[in-house]
Amino acid sequence: MDLRVLWFILLGVLLAGYAILDGFDLGVGILHLGARDDRERRIFMNSIGPLWDGNEVWLVTFGGALFAAFPEAYATAFSGFYLAFMLLLFALIFRAVSMEFRSKRESPLWRGAWDVAFSAASVVAALLFGVAAGDSMLGIPIGADHEYVGGFFLLLRPYAILVGLLNVSLFALHGAIYLDMKTEGELQRRVRRWTWYAFAIFLTLYLLTTIVTLTRVPRALANFERLPWLWAVVALNILALANIPRALLLRRAGQAFLSSAAAIAALVGLFGAALYPNLIVSSLSPEWSMTLLNASSSDKTLKIMALIAACGMPLVLCYTAVIYWVFRGKVELGKSSY
């Protein structure tokens, strides 16, 4: 297989890994203010406490891999989306430190402030990831020299906002299902109710986004004629989504979680299928789009990176499995908890 295609797929894998894993962390953050008292909020934070950090590394590695494999695209996207990325960074900073800081003092004012910071940061981060995906689907003004020539507010187009909201609802759903596995009793009953609300909102936005995408971004289906197996990804997406209410009704939270994870993976796959072979579509001229060919590193670098990934990723998967195994089951608040 062509190395560029391989790295396009591997970047998709990293992005899907990030969206699935940090997706439930951000989802818990989005729902955080719905927890009523200090004990419930501690349960929420401790449900992701041991895991969020490792989950965020998927984003860091995605960034590093994009830098190494497609430096032109990395440079254009990050400088072009400057303010949006800064906002995202601030959100990720607050998400990280608010969990750590909140537990260190008893004062309700102190804890309340970090609760709000934690939740707002999670909402903003989820929204921005979706906005970025929406803008990538539409294409952005990229000049012949591969530099972004639009302003900041151009990025906040209605379609991009729609995808942003879709992503917030998706992560909220994913996070609620995760909390279903991690909570007990009355709190769990409430979380289950939220799962249904989140699913209803997500489904509405999902249908809306699908319609708008098919009418506004015909390019999204261009690859389907050449590669008909892509319809299997669509089928996976629909089946996974359809299985969520089924699993919820059967009280199988674990199965519902796997389904929402599969749905997220399929959505990332469809996003990749819509872009390929572009990384960033220029809305000014198709010739100025950044593609797998004109944005990539040398073959030598792609080969070295493939070796690094082949050595490293099995290890990563091993210890991710160990960590998730150690922290399986319901949240118990103890001496070392947040």
């Binding site: 004109n294 990934a309 490293g312």
Partner: protein, 453 residues
Amino acid sequence: MHLDILTLSRLQFALTIMFHYLFPPLSIGLGALMVLMEGAFLWTGDKEWEALARFWTKIFAVNFAMGVASGIVMEFQFGTNWSTYSRFVGDVFGSALAAEGIFAFFLESGFLAVLVFGWDRVSKRMHFLSTVLVALGALFSAVWIVVANSWQQTPAGYVLVSHAGVARAEITDFWAVVFNPSSVQRLIHTILGAWVAGGALVASVSAYYVLKGRHAGPARKALALSVVFGAAAAVLLPLSGDASARLVARYQPAKLAAFEGLYKTADPAPLTLVGIPDDSRQELRAAVRVPGLLSFLVHRRFGGVVAGLDAFAPQDRPPVAASFFLFHAMVGIGTLLAALFALSLWRLRAGKLYEDRLLLWGLVGSVVAALAANEIGWCAAEVGRQPWIVYGLLRTQDAVSRAVPARHALISIVLFFVIYSLLLAVWLLVVSDKIAQGIEPPEPAGGALTEAK
């Protein structure tokens, strides 16, 4: 000073990296010490070592969260503010960054969970293993980031090619990139600096407890451990610094000339202890010099040419005053720390350290000095590399993002300043809270013991 995108991006990078670099040296140093503490607990079964390991794990966790939060900014910033640089170096530099993610960050952050939250969930051995893996992860991340930075100082294993009409560096030999001329020595120097910082942090808090008469048992144990550890690292540092400086002399002679304030090429060249660089007169004012010593450090004999700034075109010279003062401040503080730790070690061996209040107060302050030396040392390395962002290949002024308006960078830098000030204040508050709360005494079987006042 004109606030263009170049100036603002440089300011923002300096602000964000200096904030970030408060935390990694402490993580690296403290990680190593926690391995020793928990290892001592497993080896001896002494519960005081366990209490210490648990106490420092909490500080480590706060510190690590700050490192993660401020670290992700650094990775994104290459793209946001230095996109021309990213296009130029991505083929070489990106692999190191990606390797850091895959080999170091996953290891660190994954097992940190077991370290912090796993005390009662996994066996003692598994917990110890996690501590070792977290400490190793912190070391590995230093390896990859120092490799990447060293490549900017002494590029190797690449070729310049034209990609779509623009020049960029492409990798020809991965191992030549990894083992570029300066990477091993700079890595050793960085890690020793981090160990001193970690040793100083533990020594500082432990000395404070000893002074206040709290936690006599564990505080003395931790103080002894950190003094031995810190002294070993602080005494090795000048040796590693000498080796690094000889590489600077060989590969970055303009940087050495700026560090030493050597305006004119000299043979034999003197070593300047103090002085004030004066660019307008191209000489050092009020200089105190040791004749021939710089020649000796470079050539290992008291004669031999050392190139001065006059050997380089004006546009290729680093800013002399900043390089000179930063370099001398690092060496000065490092020497003081080495002396402080060596003296403490000597008093420890004589059995008099715990009563020597003056020395103990010195140790309390040592963590500030150690962090300052780490920061200043990095500043010296980066300022001395100017005007190049990749030495001899790409100038800093040509590396900045073209698509970012200056006012956007102004917005972000103001926000970074506000947010980082807030975080720094909260971090200090939380860590001093933890220190004030103290070490939780080990629980003997049959119930908790309240701490005797």
